[in-house]
């Protein structure tokens, strides 16, 4: 068999080999250069293909490196950064200077430059990380979490262009005043701080010991009528806040929310035993000790979708946190969230925790979602056992020694319905435009097993356009929390009446 043209060899390799052998030496020699060419072409194309394939990742790698180079030295993670305005007195100084006098909150301190470390008075920044930023403004960072010892009391930063360092005192607490929707004053600190409260008549002094305060108060129009003035007592030491109460206000009730680094100041009126929002003053011996606030859904269970990337679980948690604060300040009881953050928690776990804690009350917050409805009404729900008996069963359960887990609520159902009535009345007033809507009964998993007065609240309708935007706003969430807190407060007077 003779092959005229070796380039026609496009058969399988076995055929190729057998045919090649049969042609003899002369043909082999003749076709060899062409074959070599073919192989060379293949190899070249293969190499170029590989080059093309490899080019993509290597280019992106370069890009990635360069972007990191611009962003900084990579010493700091984002959590170490803090905003510029949290450094109250920032001083710029050349980082290579041997020594520099800096003034920190009125004190003159000597800052010395040293190789690998800098000293400020007797304090040395041993592990001070240096960050070079692309922005021209100083980028302060917080070495509190990274540098132990004396350096923890200081803050420092550098300016990229001129390699300047900036040092300011970190031994201060930033305190801001805010008037809440229910008329109480909230003093919010940026970190935990201990304060001693002294009350002399209409003068309330919050003494912060050696901790210095940077205080941003309320402007004239924001100032509530029950406060005459509010300022730092001694500006030079900056460690006490003085609140002068207006005439007619006998004293103020101060409550610290350690979990939120906040202090709540609430007026107690002289002539009229009512607090600012019209709720009755607290009798000496309330029996309530513990309230559970349940933020609906959480973790993998996102609840209904309010908007893209906005889910019921996030909104319920935000409202629950506000409600916790409102209840803590108004009722002075321990308020526990059934889920403190965005975590998956089964209803069984929530019920167990509330029952074991012997909570006096549970309020569960949900967001409504009803496709056909064009209105956004809010409802209070209590437990029901459709098809499993009614009042008779309730009475039976109350007399039984052992109560089935899923029927634990039967014993508290009457009180739950009164609680729901109180909640629904407040919801109708604040959120349902004054309509007289009734409470509803449902076979809810959570409510059925709770051995305490319990109510499930469903706010609005996630399908309604107006509600979709409102529910994400702080003002709506504050209103919802205040409404529910008022309802609970009213219910308590009913529940604890002798």
């Amino acid at each position: 068999m003779h092959i005229e043209n070796p380039s026609s060899i496009r058969l399988s390799s076995s055929q190729f080999t057998s045919e090649f052998r049969s042609t003899g030496r002369a043909t082999e020699q003749e076709s060899f250069p062409r074959l070599l060419c073919l192989v060379a072409v293949f190899i070249v194309s293969l190499t170029s293909m590989m080059a093309v394939v490899c080019a993509g990742p290597s280019r992106s790698h370069v890009r990635h490196d360069s972007s990191r180079g611009v962003a900084g030295s990579g010493l700091l993670s984002s959590r170490h950064r803090c905003s510029v305005d949290s450094l109250p007195s920032m001083r710029a100084l050349p980082s290579r200077a041997r020594a520099e006098t800096v003034q920190i909150l009125g004190e003159r301190r000597l800052l010395r430059g040293k190789k690998g470390a800098r000293t400020l008075g007797n304090e040395t920044f041993q592990d001070l990380p240096v960050v070079f930023a692309q922005a021209e403004r100083p980028v302060p960072f917080d070495p509190l979490s990274t540098a132990p010892g004396p350096a923890a009391a200081q803050k420092a930063g550098t300016v990229a262009a001129s390699e300047l360092g900036a040092v300011g005192a970190a031994d201060f607490v930033r305190l801001s005043a805010k008037l809440e929707a229910n008329g109480v004053l909230r003093l919010q600190a940026n970190r935990s701080v201990a304060a001693e409260v002294q009350q002399e008549g209409a003068r309330v002094v919050l003494q912060f010991g050696k901790t210095r305060i940077e205080f941003s108060g309320l402007t004239g129009s924001q100032m509530p009528s029950w406060i005459r003035s509010m300022a730092l007592g001694q500006p030079e030491t900056a460690n006490q806040l003085v609140i002068e109460l207006a005439g007619g206000v006998g004293s103020a009730r101060i409550s610290h929310l350690a979990s939120q680094n906040a202090t709540i100041v609430e007026p107690i009126y002289q002539d009229n035993p009512k607090t600012g929002d019209g709720s009755p003053a607290q009798p000496a011996s309330w029996k309530w000790k513990h309230i559970t606030v349940d933020a609906g859904h959480g973790g993998l269970d996102r609840g209904t979708a309010i908007r893209e990337q906005v889910y019921e679980k996030d909104v319920t948690l935000a409202i629950a946190r506000k409600l916790r604060w409102a209840l803590e300040t108004r009722l002075g009881v321990t308020v526990v969230l059934s889920r403190p953050d965005d975590r998956t928690q089964s209803l069984e776990e929530r019920v167990t925790a509330a029952n074991l804690a012997r909570s006096n009350l549970l309020i569960s917050i949900h967001i409504g979602s009803s496709a056909p409805s064009k209105v956004a009404h809010s409802y209070a729900y209590t437990a029901a056992w459709p098809g499993e008996g009614s009042a008779a069963a309730e009475a039976g359960t109350m007399q039984r020694l052992f109560v089935p887990w899923h029927e634990a609520q039967r014993g508290s159902l009457t009180w739950s319905q009164r609680l729901a009535g109180s909640v629904q009345a407040e919801l109708n007033r604040a959120l349902n435009d004054g309509q007289a809507l009734n409470i509803r009964h449902i076979p809810a998993k959570l409510l059925r097993a709770l051995a305490m007065p319990a109510v499930l609240v469903e706010l609005g309708n996630a399908r309604e356009a107006g509600f979709q935007s409102a529910v994400q706003e702080e003002s709506f969430q504050n209103l919802a929390a205040a409404t529910l807190a008022s309802a609970v407060e009213k219910f308590r007077t009913l529940h604890e009446r002798p």
């Binding site: 390799s13 192989v39 293949f42 293969l46 979602s369 459709p386 899923h406 449902i442 998993k445």
Partner: protein, 206 residues
């Protein structure tokens, strides 16, 4: 055989191998691109044993109303008669999952399938739904309650042998369908949400 020839051959082999695999890969990708949209997923994992020639019978399915909140509306549908009540029930649920033909809201979320349905002698129907029933559920308490009672009422009204309905998700007892309503206990028929009846479950007084 000379060494350079052997080398050339090996190279050629490798290249042709790479070429063939690339060709198949390309062909597969093209096939994926031009493949027609997947067949509609059957709603029933285990189809009922029904003869296609058996006579039709009418059943009344319940779907959430698209006009009123917390209301279920009936919709008539033809299914094949079957001897076993479970076969009737499976067809009822299959039709229910398929959705309304008269513009009502879906009773169960899209993608839901019925894994299994069996009946006990005491009239309890155990309905095992796929996880989509829970995962794809739009949420909301009233919608969740409507979904459950669409299933329960459609079964109890059309299959006299069924008195109670227990819903399972992926073969196991689930806490809820969408975070509110207790699925651990069987449900009995509740027509209070059905149009024309006085609502009871969802209403109350202050």
């Amino acid at each position: 055989m000379p060494r350079h020839l052997l080398f050339g051959l090996i190279c050629l082999l490798l290249i042709s191998l790479a070429g063939v695999s690339y060709y198949y890969d390309l062909q597969q990708r093209i096939q994926e691109l031009v493949r027609p949209s997947p067949e509609p997923v059957p709603y029933l994992a285990v189809p009922p044993t029904v003869s296609p020639t058996s006579p039709l019978r009418m059943v009344k399915l319940f779907f959430p109303s698209s006009r009123q909140e917390n209301r279920l509306e009936g919709e008539m549908r033809g299914i094949r008669s079957a001897q076993l009540p479970s076969d009737v029930a499976k067809q009822v649920l299959s039709e229910l999952i398929g959705g309304s033909q008269e513009g009502r809201l879906p009773a169960l979320p899209p993608g839901t399938r019925l894994h299994e349905l069996f009946l006990t002698k005491r009239g309890l129907a155990v309905v095992d739904l796929s996880q989509e029933a829970s995962l794809n559920h739009p949420g909301g308490l009233t919608m969740e309650l409507a979904s459950i009672y669409c299933v329960v009422n459609s079964l109890t009204q059309n299959v006299p042998e069924i008195q109670q309905v227990q819903v399972l998700i992926e073969g196991v007892e689930a806490e809820t369908l969408a975070g509110h309503i207790d699925l651990s206990r069987p449900f009995t028929e509740d027509v209070s949400m059905v149009e024309g009846n006085q609502p009871a479950t969802l209403s109350g007084s202050q």
